[in-house]
Symmetry: C2
Subunit: 302 residues, 2 copies
């Protein structure tokens, strides 16, 4: 297997994880957890979202989280923004990077953002321009890149079209979200066969949910095709509130295990991830779902 | 991806799954479960083991299970045998196929079978000869093909050496057991790069445990290399009593999902697997760990 030497893990747990968590977590707990994550060797943490609290009440304290975390040099602290209002708040809080988002599927976009794709594009365009003017890098998320909960399979051409529009706006990286966790490696190959000739591997990231247990198989296929940036959430937290039955993101610690076993450098320390996982388990009062935490609990119990 | 068109799933739950289950399951329940499995489209079920009850008390009722199940035409009902005494009992029960087993690691072999590798080989040779004379096909399991809980990484050459000895004895298929569930796709590639030129893909099966969540990634890599037979256990049951912390086999229903999503025919019906999973959950009085059962429970709950 030809593989990248170095892989970047982008931790999205504080945003994509917690936005779908029914449990209300205090700002203090979020900050403590993010500070723990900062000590684990991660280079990127998406810490919150400036989506209106009406939609995501779990992250209503976005500004406070962003201003309270201890920023460690070398780590990019990013925030999701849906529109200009969100961008202004993220800039006030001095997020290192902002992320914009939309869906490759018309119906999912409508359900998730309450706008058509055509209506969404100019909103994002303004946000991206303004963020770039403010000197920030911008990440673009496109969700339902393989399948949509309402429309079924999504064509790679449609994803390429949306990706091209986002790159035209000036985004620095496109994160391909497999929102509902149905993909198999063949789907990943089909998608990347279409996207790689257009965008190359270095500006693409992949974002897998592990609903059906195929996330690491998909990561492995994407790695072979040259992708070297993957999103994940500690403890497999997360899901999509607008995609019924969608389970969490691939767990950061399980992703890190496989990458390490495949000989790739990620810079993260497993022990620190486990500690951050234990902290979140104590905050939530329930076990998180990752194989590494499961093994850790078994070994601890003897 | 170049992939096999058809894949055979060999269900090892009634043996590899239940042998490690602390819960004592009645013969009646085992038989009911196997009869359910027979209705799911599987073509191979390893129903029990004739290892001495001193070692595996969970399967002390091997003869009764074998004689009580409803055999469906077209399904191979196999039994594991450790020695001539076990073989005689399996032949008395008219198992369709018998499996012999040993480890690629000296220490694991010693711990698991209480013999050195050198001492094990002549025992298996006699069993294989006698089984073949009785007109049975024989499967050879070799465990710890990637790593051993006592010795660490195992060299592919050592696995090839053991495999060659087993094929020389007359086994029909070699099942490569990744006993402790540490493998990544790169390990699978390394192993198969060594074994395939010697044995070809058609006489090899792979047997993954999902301890670290990499089982389906490993299956995907093996498929790309031409392997078309995989062992799994319904509900991810199983583990190895002599390999501490080893979690269960890859779940049959999760394997079947991925194979189907990759466009491969397996013949199994997901609905029937879910029903068999629910039956075992009610027998054990606890949820089984598979993504498909998790999704099913979520959807049922609404």
């Amino acid at each position: 297997m030809k593989l990248p030497e170095k892989v970047t893990i982008k931790e999205v747990g504080p945003r994509d994880g917690l936005q779908n968590e029914p449990h209300q977590i205090s700002t203090e707990h979020k900050v403590a957890w993010i500070d723990h994550l900062s000590e684990s060797g991660l280079s990127y943490i998406e810490v919150t979202s400036f989506v209106h609290p009406k939609w995501i009440p779990q992250l209503a304290d976005a500004a406070e989280v962003l201003s309270s975390i201890q920023r460690k040099p070398g780590i990019t602290y990013a925030a999701l923004v849906p529109n200009m209002h969100g961008l202004r708040r993220a800039l006030e809080g001095n997020a290192d990077e902002v992320s914009v988002f939309m869906s490759a599927s018309e119906s999912h976009n409508k359900n998730n953002i309450n706008k058509t794709i055509t209506e969404t594009l100019p909103v994002l365009k303004e946000v991206v321009s303004e963020a770039k003017r403010a000197g920030k890098t911008v990440r673009g998320y496109v969700s339902t890149v393989i399948a949509c909960p309402y429309e079924g399979m999504i064509s790679p051409e449609q994803v390429k079209e949306i990706g091209a529009r986002l790159f035209d706006m000036g985004i620095d990286e496109l994160s391909l979200g497999e929102t509902i966790g149905v993909a198999a490696p063949t789907d990943v190959e089909r998608l990347l066969d279409t996207l790689l000739p257009e965008f190359g591997p270095d500006r693409l990231a992949m974002h897998f949910h592990d609903t059906r247990g195929t996330a690491l198989a998909n990561v492995s296929k994407a790695l072979e095709m040259g992708i070297s940036t993957f999103d994940s959430a500690l403890g497999g937290l997360g899901g999509c509130p607008y995609a019924k039955g969608a389970a969490g993101n691939v767990a950061t610690e399980d992703l890190a295990y496989m990458l390490d076993a495949m000989g790739m450098e990620t810079g993260v320390r497993m022990e620190a991830l486990i500690e951050a996982g234990e902290l979140m388990e104590s905050i939530l009062g329930k076990p998180l779902k990752s194989k590494q935490l499961e093994i850790y609990r078994k070994v601890e119990k003897g």
